[in-house]
Assembly symmetry: C2
Homo-oligomer: 418 residues x 2
């Protein structure tokens, strides 16, 4: 790492955040008619036709503006977070069964009141962060209530972990497509992320304890420690099983890019590196040694570098087998956001140059191909060489979360390294 590389990257990252992502979502993302957020935008940044509001992206926007306010304490950012919080509490809260709906119409009319742990987890993430940043007691109370509901209705007290898919009244969903009988790394990892934010906001023993438990669960059941990668889906006893499409997930709702002819049990490079830095964030929050997970994060990052990294052009591919080369060479925005943070995080904790190098080569690819030069927000899906497959800048699952977070987390790390 040279001083020039670092200062250039820092300046570019800041630029993308301050002149791209932040103004993009401040100008386009706020629904000035009904409140809350609009999240669908085409390749030119024009609003899409789908104006339904999903718990996942509404909360990701609340989280994003709250987290960014910490860095940029500007009134317009506070207001952007506030109005989204107010819309969310007014229209997503289920007063009958408690908890949060899955999807509402633009005006707030409920469309789907299913209880999905992925969504409830993001609600905790957003509300706890909003509460901590703005000192809002009501938001914290909602975050804690949501946490309590997960413990009451979703914990599996026989096998450990959480059931992930429930009906509107918190009864367990059916097996198969409704996936009442499945557990996954994805959802447990995002619960860890949510409980980290909650523990940081409250400092309470119960939130720290459940955070430790979900971390232990991921490490015990959901990581292939030999190959250094995450597994994907499991039966309720945590036996790994081939992944299927599941109701109320993005994979079930889209069909873009490369498809593998034969279903294979794959691992996601971006997800694995994201897991590494989220484990570190959790450990930092618990006050553990900063190097506690160094063995594991090296393994996760090295697996991605061995099999998922494009050593020619930079960036990571989408999916591959546990031990062996990638299967799907498309590049997706969120993976190429998360590895930026992960590689930098590992570089900070280990001091090994190869991780900074991986960050830098990913960043150069991202800058050249993912970032829309006109607006600064990122495209969704590219071919290996950078050709856009889906150039949309916003969809029902995207919003400010991965891009804004990556730039914010990288900015802070690069500033520390100066």
């Amino acid at each position: 790492m040279t001083h020039d590389e670092l200062t250039t990257a820092l300046s570019e990252v800041r630029d993308n955040l301050e002149r791209g992502i932040l103004p993009f979502w401040l100008e386009r993302g706020i629904d000035r008619e009904f409140g809350g957020y609009l999240t669908c935008f085409d390749a030119e940044g024009c609003p899409g036709e789908d104006t339904d509001k999903y718990i996942v992206t509404q909360t990701r926007m609340i989280w994003g503006f709250s987290a960014l306010y910490e860095e940029y304490p500007e009134e317009r950012i506070r207001k952007a977070a506030r109005q989204g919080y107010e819309f969310f509490v007014r229209h997503f809260w289920d007063p009958r069964h408690l908890g949060w709906h899955w999807k509402v119409r633009r005006d707030g009319t409920v469309l789907d009141d299913g209880k999905v742990v992925y969504g409830e987890g993001f609600a905790i993430y957003a509300l706890a962060t909003y509460a901590r940043v703005f000192g809002d007691a009501e938001a914290l109370s909602y975050a804690e209530r949501t946490f309590d509901l997960l413990q009451i209705y979703c914990a599996d007290t026989l096998r450990g972990g959480y059931f992930e898919n429930l009906e509107p009244d918190w009864t367990l969903s059916a097996p198969g497509f409704a996936a009442g009988d499945r557990k996954s790394l994805d959802i447990h990892m995002h619960l860890m992320e949510a409980f980290t934010a909650l523990a940081a906001a409250t400092g309470k023993e119960i939130h720290r304890r459940k955070l430790e438990e979900v971390m232990g669960l991921i490490l015990r059941h959901m990581v292939d420690h030999e190959n250094g990668c995450g597994l994907n889906q499991f039966d309720i006893d945590f036996r790994p099983i081939p992944a299927i499409n599941i109701r109320r997930t993005w994979n079930a709702e889209r069909a873009t890019g490369e498809v593998v002819a034969t279903p294979t049990d794959t691992t996601s490079y971006g997800h694995n590196v994201e897991l590494g830095w989220l484990l570190n964030r959790a450990a930092d929050t618990l006050g553990w040694e900063r190097t506690h997970f160094n063995g594991l994060i090296r393994k996760l990052d090295d697996h991605s570098l061995a099999y998922g990294f494009d050593h020619e052009l930079g960036g990571v591919y989408r999916d591959g087998v546990h031990c062996g080369p990638a299967l799907v060479f498309d590049k997706e925005w969120w993976q190429n956001c998360e590895v930026l943070i992960g590689y930098l995080d590992t570089y900070e904790r280990t001091g090994e140059e190869k991780y900074f190098d991986a960050f830098l080569r990913t960043w150069r690819f991202d800058k050249a191909h993912f970032i829309d030069p006109a607006t600064g927000e990122w495209r969704q899906l590219l071919r290996r060489d950078g050709t856009p497959l889906v150039a949309d800048l916003g969809n029902p699952w995207k919003a400010i979360y991965h891009t804004g977070r990556a730039m914010l987390e990288c900015k802070r790390r690069l500033e520390r390294m100066r």
Copy 2:
């Protein structure tokens, strides 16, 4: 089983319940000065000096009068339950941390506000039964809140099951004597009993689901299926470990009867047979086949008959090794109550005479030695031959629960068999 044996036993059981246990507790057990219950009585039935009120026995009394009201819908029984319920809610509820205190003074002053799952479980058992029998919405709401608190603060979402010992603010207790790091069959069995009562009262999916989970946990981790007996204590990962004395348990507070020189991992015959019929009660509540557990209950009962039963004098001994003869030959009231129900229950479900015979021989011993002829309530602890070791009729852990329940459950079964 002859007709005479059955009608004689039924008439004796009724007599013990209607002229012994019920009047004993109605006349002596109600604290007419402060409300709630007095539970300590010497061998003559005179009040003891210890008037502190424990969650375990206060709730056992509420449960007892509620359950007996179902059989005998008399106003004096309803009042006895009501005043105990009112005292309990007024003085045991912790308005700060929620949940129930462990111990209060006679007048209701809090002495120990530790949160013990054994006690919280009995609160659910009592409140759910009280609510169902008397149609009391407030009691049901308290029962459900207590259930929710157990899910939030006590469930172990990494390993399954429940942590059993917590501090007043629901933080986990220290390892060792405070036993924050132990799990036990005893407490999980009584949670099963409590969730059975709650599921019966509400019919809710979540209460049925958690009941099934705790049943599965007991069967998966806590029963030695080969030898047909229950294990005792476990580390938090359910590895069986030698039992120790634990804070806030009866074993830690008493020192009576035989002592085994070398600590050995033992099993309790009465507990095992009780487990059998409680599993059946849970299965009945869930609407499962009446014969679902016949294989298991035969094993549990046969283990007791092989090693724990006094084939000469009747009744069961206190403790023994998992595979081999008893170690402690004292006879304790509660074990010799529970096996009455268990043996009769197994006889009803299997039709095998040996279980009726075991019931009858236990009952004859109980009648001759446990039951105090003057009052009808049972003595606490006897030598094998029936000589009293502790002739007290009430102590801080006894109350109406085992004796009243045994007579009520046996009465109903014997009446069905007529």
